[in-house]
Amino acid sequence: MKTKLLTCDELRKRVSPDDGAADDAPPETNVCTIAELFDLAELVRKGKHEQLPREFLAATQRLLKTGEVCIESLDLDRLHRNMFDDHRNRRPGLWPPANDLTVSVGKTVRRLILRVSEVTWWDHEVYEEMDRRACPQR
């Protein structure tokens, strides 16, 4: 089954089903990072989204329960695994894509979440697609 990396807009359509999520789309595993969910929440927080906070939270909970989308987050283990370069036989340095001020914080967060390793279930294409995409300048 193909893995599809959702954009913030595609996630929005799933959180607001009235916007017409593609029910007849071919089977695929949908993945996005917590940064997409936070970007969406940011629209709600700033009153730029059609849903009120309570509605948005309820809709998000419903979406998470369906398992329709895997939302990958950033926790201590993932941070520890991905913030540093491959350090076999020497002291670790910073992983260069995480030490890059030319991109937004949101992009760095996405890189740290989607960095491919022996424990990730998605492949390099997902990471590369994320890295090609424009990202809100926050």
């Binding site: 969910l37 906070p53 950033l74 926790d75 910073l94 030490n99 926050r138």
Partner: protein
């Protein structure tokens, strides 16, 4: 004992103490840069309570504070500690220190962070997402949490009044 949440702008000076004079928390922390005396006192209290097995509060930093650290390493760390030391801390943090995740559990708290705050002259300034996440982390720790921050906008958030450490 209440938790102390360290904002991204306080974490580097905390780590400088941790890897330097405080010797990974075996000795006392003292004020350094944006890690003020008041914060040092609360961190020392938490650390001592854990030593005495009375551990209740913990010192917390969001994963986002470490993301910021990684991004601006050269400018803000300035040779005071090395990446391998941070890697070792993340591999085995002391019992009194925790790195808070960014996951869907934080969503509810994020939506409670005001979009704007009133600053001097009655002007409003926005609180952007990756600053708001530190506040959401603080909100997630309960009503008695302390937030150590020097960010003047975060310091204007009404719900944090009386719960702030440091100054702008």
């Amino acid at each position: 004992m209440s938790d102390v949440v360290l904002d991204a702008n306080v974490l580097p000076d905390f780590l400088s103490q941790f890897f330097g004079p405080a010797e990974r928390g075996t000795l006392r922390f003292s004020a350094e840069g944006r890690f003020c005396e008041q914060t040092a006192r609360r961190v020392n209290r938490i650390r001592l309570d854990h030593d005495g097995d009375r551990g209740r509060g913990i010192v917390v930093a969001s994963v986002i504070a470490f993301v910021e650290l990684s991004r601006k390493w050269t400018n803000i760390v300035a040779g005071r500690f090395e990446p391998y030391q941070v890697a070792a801390l993340l591999a085995q943090p002391p019992s009194w220190f925790s790195v808070a995740p960014c996951d869907e559990e934080l969503l509810d708290f994020l939506l409670d962070v005001p979009a704007v705050v009133e600053v001097a002259d009655g002007r409003s300034e926005p609180i952007e997402l990756y600053d708001a996440l530190h506040v959401a982390t603080a909100f997630s720790r309960g009503d008695h949490v302390w937030l150590a921050t020097t960010d003047s906008r975060l310091r204007r958030i009404p719900r944090l009044q009386g719960r702030l450490l440091g100054r702008s």
